[in-house]
């Protein structure tokens, strides 16, 4: 502090008179604002406190009470419904599980109505997880890219229509995707399937067995691609909203440090949006795991668990239920419900894992800024 210290501004009564105080305004002829004389009485009337002698008592306000009851009731109702579903599925499933002569987790075939009943979810579990993983691996990066383009790159005139289009895609019913997948995607993936078989066949996963090479790609990989297209809009829409919420002041902080646009996004937008992108991905994953019609129209199901993902065959929980429920007898229905229970459990586990990932970095979430 070796600056010269002028006396005027520090001294209120210096030659320029007082400043930055209410006196300053009064001195220039401005009168203070007068409140209407009847205001205190009106306020007392409105709040039900007449007279000023007694300290105001806490009152039960009807709006607060109602809202508390409504929100608490909704929360409890949600838990009750979840528990009811779990109990119902468990009860219905237990009948077939006790008569099963196969092993529920490792048996490949699905013959619950045979005598003796033999069924297992190995193929379904594998198919559901693999198609969902393929879908996520394709959809999440693309969705984040589109969301960033809309929120931070595109000029507003372009961003608005694209955002609208994405929202529209999210509303297309899954049977439409299924028909498009069966009638358009499957025939057009012949070339890609053959190409992957030739050049990526060494991975074993992305290859076709000799016996089926050249057959229509009604396989788990095609299902994964179709699911990716289906879940892309919802992940994009939610991620875009989150990225748009990234605080302007943190973006400017990054820019002022000499960040390029991409570096600014990496520094201030992506870390801020991370929990939102995870939540968005969970929404998409939920849809991919439970998708029924689109899978049923594209896949040609079988009871084979095949590590060649380009071979036709396999199945998913939802597809299997849709395909078998109509002609199932008592034990068959019960077995299908058992598989539904597994899907329910998988979804819960995945969501819990996502919650854990988000909670682990809560301190750094940006929500407390």
């Amino acid at each position: 502090m070796d600056t010269p210290s002028p006396t005027v501004p520090q001294d209120r009564d210096g030659p320029y008179g007082p400043h930055q105080t209410s006196h300053g305004h009064a001195a220039h002829g401005q009168t203070p604002v007068e409140l209407p004389a009847e205001l205190p009485a009106a306020l007392a009337e409105a709040t039900g406190q007449r007279g000023v002698t007694a300290p105001p008592k806490a009152r039960n306000r009807i709006g607060d009470t109602l809202f508390l009851a409504a929100s608490r009731g909704s929360g409890i109702l949600l838990l009750v419904i979840m528990a009811a579903i779990a109990v119902f599925l468990g009860w219905q499933a237990s009948k077939s599980l006790s008569s099963n002569t196969g092993h529920f987790f490792t048996t490949f075939e699905w013959n619950p109505d045979a005598t003796p009943p033999v069924f297992g979810i190995a193929v379904l579990l594998f198919g559901t997880v693999v198609s969902a993983v393929i879908a996520m691996a394709i959809a999440v990066p693309v969705a984040v890219g589109i969301a960033l383009f809309i929120s931070h790159y595109a000029p507003r005139r372009l961003a608005q229509p694209i955002a609208y289009l994405v929202d529209l895609l999210a509303a297309v019913p899954s049977i439409v995707y299924g028909l498009w997948g069966a009638l358009f995607l499957v025939p057009h993936l012949d070339g890609l399937t053959a190409w992957m078989n030739d050049y990526l066949g060494w991975t074993h996963l992305l290859s076709q067995s000799d016996g089926v090479s050249g057959s229509a790609p009604r396989n788990l990989f095609t299902v994964g691609i179709l699911l990716a297209i289906m879940i892309l809009p919802i992940i994009t829409a939610v991620s875009r909203e989150v990225f748009k919420q990234a605080p302007r002041m943190h973006e400017e902080a990054a820019l002022a440090l000499g960040a390029t646009r991409w570096e600014m996004i990496r520094t201030a937008v992506l870390p801020f949006g991370r929990p939102g992108v995870i939540s968005a991905s969970m929404l998409g994953l939920g849809r991919a795991l439970g998708e029924t019609m689109a899978v049923a129209t594209v896949l040609s199901p079988s009871d084979k668990l095949n590590l060649h993902l380009l071979d036709p065959g396999g199945g998913t929980f939802a597809q299997n239920i849709a395909a078998k429920f109509g002609e199932a007898f008592d034990n068959g229905r019960s077995a299908l419900i058992a598989s539904g229970l597994m899907l329910f459990v998988i979804t819960l586990l995945v969501n819990a894992a996502a919650r854990l990932i988000i909670a682990r970095r809560k301190e750094f979430s940006g929500a407390n800024a």
Partner: protein, 258 residues
């Protein structure tokens, strides 16, 4: 480290609206220059033209010349990203990155510039935090989130982040307006220390502050409602506050308007 800034004929626009008009001034190295003036007169806009932050607002553009020693910041082929690494900035509201620890906040600029060596980063963190008078308060919790500090500490963290990249110039846009008097005093003391190393420009609404910390003071004003802001005068701080050459300056600092 410090460089002289020479501005001539600078105007800044928001779309078709002209925010500031025809500003020329020289800002001396290793000194503190304060910008004062009523709200909306273009002080902050002008400040943001000095590190090319004005143009990040959609539709915003700048005309004129800003010479940093002998380099025109608005010359053809000049990269705004490189300019912002040379001219650091501290904002009105403390804005440490909430997703980063204190340590990561300080080295954010260095990491952007590609510095990865841990010993070097450690050294810069200590030096910058000491430079911002924050080291003793945070040295035991460098891995805690920067957003967990108090407002005044956050602002000093932002100053540490800005000086960590060793800029030539440090721009401060009302750095104390969101802080309590004790934190304000800490920042003002810090500005007094930093001016031996940097050229400092500070926008402030607090005229006592301008008088306390600055060597030179520039007074900005609007030509009228809807008109662009202009530079009224710039002079030694002592002279501006005791015997300004323009009547409007005297009216403003004595509280007769604004």
């Amino acid at each position: 480290m410090a460089k002289r800034i020479d501005v001539s004929g600078l105007s800044a626009y928001y779309g078709s609206f002209k925010g500031i008009e025809d500003i020329s001034m020289t800002i001396e190295p290793r000194s503190v220059t304060a910008f004062i003036g009523p709200s909306g007169c273009g002080k902050s806009t002008f400040l943001r033209t000095l590190n090319r932050m004005h143009e990040v607002i959609p539709g915003a553009r700048v005309e004129g010349k800003v010479m940093l020693d002998d380099e025109n910041l608005y010359g053809p082929g000049v990269d705004p990203v490189a300019v912002r690494r040379t001219v650091g900035m501290v904002f009105q509201r403390p804005n440490p990155f909430p997703t980063m620890s204190i340590y990561d906040n300080v080295v954010a600029g260095l990491r952007l510039a590609g510095v990865r060596k841990k010993p070097l980063l450690d050294e810069v963190v200590e030096k910058s935090l000491k430079g911002a008078n924050l080291w003793n308060e945070v040295k035991d919790r460098l891995n805690k989130p920067g957003a967990g500090l108090s407002g005044g500490q956050q602002q000093r963290l932002c100053i540490a982040r800005a000086i960590a990249v060793e800029p030539q110039v440090l721009l401060m846009d009302e750095p104390c307006s969101a802080l309590d008097p004790i934190s304000t005093l800490a920042i003002e003391d810090l500005i007094g220390e930093l001016k031996s190393r940097f050229t400092i420009v500070i926008v402030t609404h607090n005229m006592q502050q301008a008088a306390r910390v600055s060597d030179r003071t520039a007074f900005f004003n609007l030509a009228g409602v809807g008109q662009p802001g202009r530079l009224v005068e710039i002079d030694d701080t002592q002279r501006i506050f005791s015997n300004p050459s323009v009547q409007a300056t005297e009216d403003y600092i004595s509280g007769r308007f604004g």
